[in-house]
Subunit: 438 residues, 4 copies
């Protein structure tokens, strides 16, 4: 048993400290609740599921440990699971992404304990992870695989009691698959990240729109007529490119995979090596998931005043160390914009220190609410599936069953009043046969 | 041995008939050659492969039977294979898609015999199929599975000598997979149709652009401001929707699969059931691959003057029989446009009898040359793969190996002077590892 | 009095000639009527006006001479005017644009005489112009100012009887304005071409869509991934650029006016001098209205296989003489495509001899029906305005009154079932005042 | 002489007050300077002009009074004019738009006195206006006509010494024209707002991009799949519609002018009356410049959770009083979002109290820097024109001469390294002539 305190205890203690500017707990919770309510208002999928789960109580008797970004959108997922009957312990999956007010609001729920606090150090971070495991979970829900790792490395005795898990993010799934290939993953985990729907909406629409809006609002610059260099043409890159072109940027794509390069070319974008793009780009936005995408040789040929930003998971895509080496001066040109001045006077402006721009920029809200509604809807039915049919899945990473994905799509369409057609019997039969000739 | 005559013999005989308007064989061949040359000029992938194949002669000693649309673009694939060393017998895969002049031009090649002739009846059609099998092929190349079917049903003795095959089209692959599931397919066949690249370029760009241009040029109507109802949001539907919106149509999508319906909705299109779309659509374009997509209940609520067209493989998507039953009069409103006049005076205009509009309309050229260059490039390297490594593939339908797909993408990019990046060693190593934490 | 015969007489004579392949007059007329009916079905503005004019007979007693492209769409305007009470004599405004069948169909109308015939020589062309003036018109309707010129130069005695005229096209208006500035224009003429609505729909949507569809269907090539160089960023250039980008071309704009160049740049297009664009373009489409836009220095740096086409009024934008001088061989690569082969083997392909591509290509239908419906709707109410209030306009070129333009917009919207808002009284009052402060 | 103190004096006094949280003046100025530097880095037009003006000193001896939004972008215009030789007095044109730090930074300039301070009351606001007139200006530069009004109403004795003025905004120009029509405007003023370039970039790109980004960042919502109702299809409405569609919204346009309604319809948008749009819209964005565009009858049929925002100049487009009457509860749902809860539980969310959303939302920066660079570039050359040729313009409102507009376009293109073509002599001659026939 750890003795890491829940957020409410931490904040109460802080509020009593005369030097602290923490408000009284009640106000903090109210602010958190207000944020959650706004999100709830635009999460029709979770709203529809809550009605169903409150009636069916599918999680009765389950204990769920969660490590996720604790902010307003996630909080609605957590409450949904709790209102479906689960006992829940949650902490953050990144020391900087927690909203304390939301964490505190969650912690007031009878069946939810939240340990998430913003700005904890590495030791506290892992203590909080471990604290959630005191719950002896039957289900783990991860955004980055921290819980699965902690269970396997530190609390293997919990494995027998765990029905299964769900993983939200690309990196988590990547690491889980590697673990699975090594034969080291001992319970089933759904790769929520990999559903086509999540990738499409989360990456294309979510990352695309929010990255560009964050950059625009952090810099007060516009897209029209800009040469926007998008590094990587995966789902995120496609989203960024499409939305930038949709705001009249001239999009340039760099790629290392010939088919994606060709796809971008056939879409009508300019495709070229980064070395060439570096000379003409006004904004550089990396989405590759790889390291050292923009490096010294590129900095050397860039124009004065360019913007450098990253929409990939890690802050390794723009080589900031290399840039610092080149620079004769660095200063904060604007909140969230670090200017690196080179010997010849050119200024290269790095947004949000090269971190995930739609989260780390001063004006950044992560994914739009509706996008997370979709992701979390899949999470919720994945948890339900694990509870109901977990034994049908062996240890390892599992794709989300098509039917769950479809269920969420149907709920969303119904919530948006979008009707669509059914196959007729004749059509259904036709689809199943193959002997109708040329 | 059949005794079905090659096209040259057929045309020579016809030319001698004083009542025939067939020109002398030489002129016909020249016209065919001119068409082939135009296509060749815009098929950089086949051009690059021809250089390679002429040097390497990968098909030396092979005999290839082919059943494909015999027109200028395909003809360049046929010559490419012949110039790579193969002996070839070819016929059409559809009685109406053959260009006799191109067929005749092909037939002049020392190593090619073409039996394809436009307008043959069903018996002649299958006689020609059989004639190609007289070659005792080692490879079959199909667009619709007719050769595979003929081999298995009528000439099973050929199976032992066949290394493998390749299939071009959706329907062919669909039928092959069903045959495969029944355990009836006795040699390996590449599902060329299913490569992501082919679907993207062929369906999205090819079908999208050519269907709309055919309709515009057949009707002299414009897209701007039109309500264009696209039935089905698969690859073809996406292409048609995207290109119609790109010409300022107001796109309405109908679907039966909730995720596709949601995808269309999130793209910004109106999504609704066909019963509702029927009331407001100006143009209806079916791309579902299913039957009875537009039927009597829809015709009854359509506006006067609407256009009905089909971009799916078969002419079953618009229920023409049902429409004829409703109509009090039908007449040719314009070449390729059949007007069905209803009792209340409304006129519903069917383009190209509901057949694949980018092939069957009076002004229709099938897929653009560049699109077929890509498809046929994959065909060519698939045939090479079968010759070189056919024994590695067991009987059944096989996906095209990623490497072949990539090879074609690289050739195309090189031909278009599009350069792209290579992974550095550091990046390659980074991609392969998973232990870099949050 | 001229004695130039109407089309019916010309065709009857021809049909009797055993060497002619002219069909009997009745069949020809039926074919013309079928074309007119198709157009009428998609001309809701003219349909609405016809209902009104048949009731009001605004042209009772008027005689209208017209020189226009005599094909199905124009024919509906002509009949509309006749059915509104006018007596009409019409001929072509270009020797190659007349459809004889439509001309013959028109000529059957009790109140219409058509002299238009395709392929007439220059003398016949002007004889026909003069023949229409035998009618002693009260109104002239021009597409290129030929009637106005003939009246002023050859039949000045008619001027007193003419209430006014209307001019359809850019060139005509350009010439009329020059004439007006010289003080030589002696009756009022409406510059129909210059209404914002006409330019927008005719040039942007009409020229844009039809030029691209003509090129696609003449060449069997696609737009996706192509570098499409659009010379000139006026209304036509904007339309071509927008529609090409909408089909996934990479659009490059050349301009001589800095504000237009900037506008294109801010739209997200690449802007560069033609000398630079020449090196990378795949398709070149001129829309400048100026001469020698693509010339020898550009040909010299173009890639093999490029397409050269013109969407401007005259065939002077691509310097074909210069190209012929450079070429070592020229041949018809495809119907409507002339290949110029240069000494180094590169082939530059000129579409439709550099003439207005959406009219002169082998697969070309001019503007879409709906676009002409709009233009001709304005023509019709302009003629009505001249009849009703002609005396209010002095000699010279006049802009079309806003109210007429609005009337046509309202008719079109009603025909398309598009409703829109009215200003409330409060809003109307607000708009009229200026003293509501910051 | 007024004795209204400059910002530096006001801030110094405030900093000495122990209860004030105003920082020391030096820090405030540094922050203001940092903001100005960021803007300057992305204002290539002003940068180019500064180089020219510092050399030429066109404003030597001039005194310029200015009333504008005093923030970083405007500040660069002010410095440009000062560095060109002028003596300047400036104040704000809106009590809420001033950035005190920028105002203080400006005030340090030897030739600039800034009176602008945020949050002044109405009396102070006009005192500051009057204070700038103590300078006895030779030029006035307005954003809303306050200086012109004060001169004419309160200081008519200054008129004789004033060469001319320039007006930045729609409303100002509207009021000036009314004044001009009444014969009350006694010196020449350039309508900077009305240049085609300003409207295009400022309204279409500037308002379009910044309004949508502000809303997205204020609400954390996305555009994909949303029904976005744009009221008004003028320049601002076109920009909002285009950029929203470019982010995959389904755009619905409402209009009162038939030609604009038709234009929107032909662009592919849904056009309908607000009463109908109210039922399906997710976001409503007004851009009409008129009042009572969204009113009670519309609120009554809206969906739960809709957003209401305004991109027009005044907060009169959404009838907030009417909405408040309907509501049973109102609360701040999120910073900058006021929720109005109706009796049936529906919540209508008003962004930024219905004020100009790209300025008044909590996350709002006004127009992008580049857009203002363009507007202010025109301002700068307009002031130069007044100084150099003011006597050529009589009293009244004057359009900006084409040549000035072109000059700015050329400077911008040069700054962006965009080259374009020159007319050749042959082309120039061709353009000037009209006697080249059909």
């Amino acid at each position: 048993m750890t003795d890491y305190p829940p957020i409410s205890d931490q904040l109460s203690a802080a509020a009593e400290d005369p030097d602290s500017d923490v408000q009284d707990l009640e106000s903090v919770r109210e602010e958190g609740r207000r944020k959650m309510d706004w999100a709830a208002q635009h999460m029709p999928i979770l709203t529809a599921l809550r009605k169903e789960f409150e009636a069916d109580r599918p999680f009765e008797g389950e204990r769920i440990a969660m490590a996720m970004h604790v902010e307003a959108k996630t909080a609605n997922l957590v409450e949904l699971l709790a209102d479906g009957g689960a006992e829940i312990a949650i902490t953050g999956c990144n020391p900087l992404s927690t909203h304390d007010d939301v964490s505190a609001a969650l912690d007031t729920h009878e069946h939810i304990t939240s340990y998430a606090k913003r700005g904890v150090d590495s030791e506290e971070y892992y203590d909080a992870i471990h604290a959630t495991l005191d719950l002896e979970p039957t289900i783990t829900v991860d955004d980055g695989m921290d819980l699965v790792a902690a269970v396997h490395e530190d609390y293997p005795e919990l494995i027998d009691g765990i029905v299964g898990g769900a993983e939200e993010t690309t990196t988590g799934v990547h690491r889980l698959r590697a673990m699975d290939e090594d034969g080291a993953l001992e319970y089933p985990v759904f790769a929520v990240n990999d559903t086509p729907m999540k990738r499409l909406f989360d990456n294309v629409h979510g990352t695309g729109e929010s990255s560009l809006a964050s950059i625009a609002m952090t810099t007060n610059l516009s897209w029209a007529g800009k040469n926007v260099v998008v590094a990587g043409y995966g789902y995120c890159g496609k989203g960024v490119a499409k939305k930038a072109a949709g705001q009249n940027a001239n999009v340039i794509v760099t790629e290392v995979e010939p088919r994606r390069a060709l796809e971008a070319h056939m879409e009508g974008y300019d495709v070229m090596p980064m070395a060439e793009a570096a000379e003409i780009g006004d904004v550089f936005l990396t989405t590759t998931g790889n390291r050292d995408v923009v490096v010294e040789e590129h900095f050397e040929s860039m124009k004065d005043g360019v913007l450098l930003a990253n929409a990939g998971h890690f802050d390794i895509e723009v080589d900031l160390e290399g840039l610092a080496d080149l620079a004769v001066d660095t200063y904060e040109a604007r909140d969230g914009v670090q200017a690196y001045e080179l010997a010849d006077g050119r200024r290269l402006n790095v947004i949000a220190e090269g971190r995930l721009v739609n989260l780390a920029a001063p004006i950044a809200l992560g994914h739009p609410v509706e996008v997370m509604d979709q992701s979390f809807g899949i999470q919720a039915v994945c948890v339900r599936e694990m509870v109901e049919n977990g034994e049908a899945y062996g240890p390892g990473v599992h794709d989300v069953p098509d039917e769950l994905d479809k269920e969420i799509a149907e709920i969303k369409l119904a919530a948006e009043d979008v009707e669509f057609d059914d196959l007729t019997d004749v059509q259904r039969e036709y689809m199943g046969s193959w002997d109708h000739g040329t």
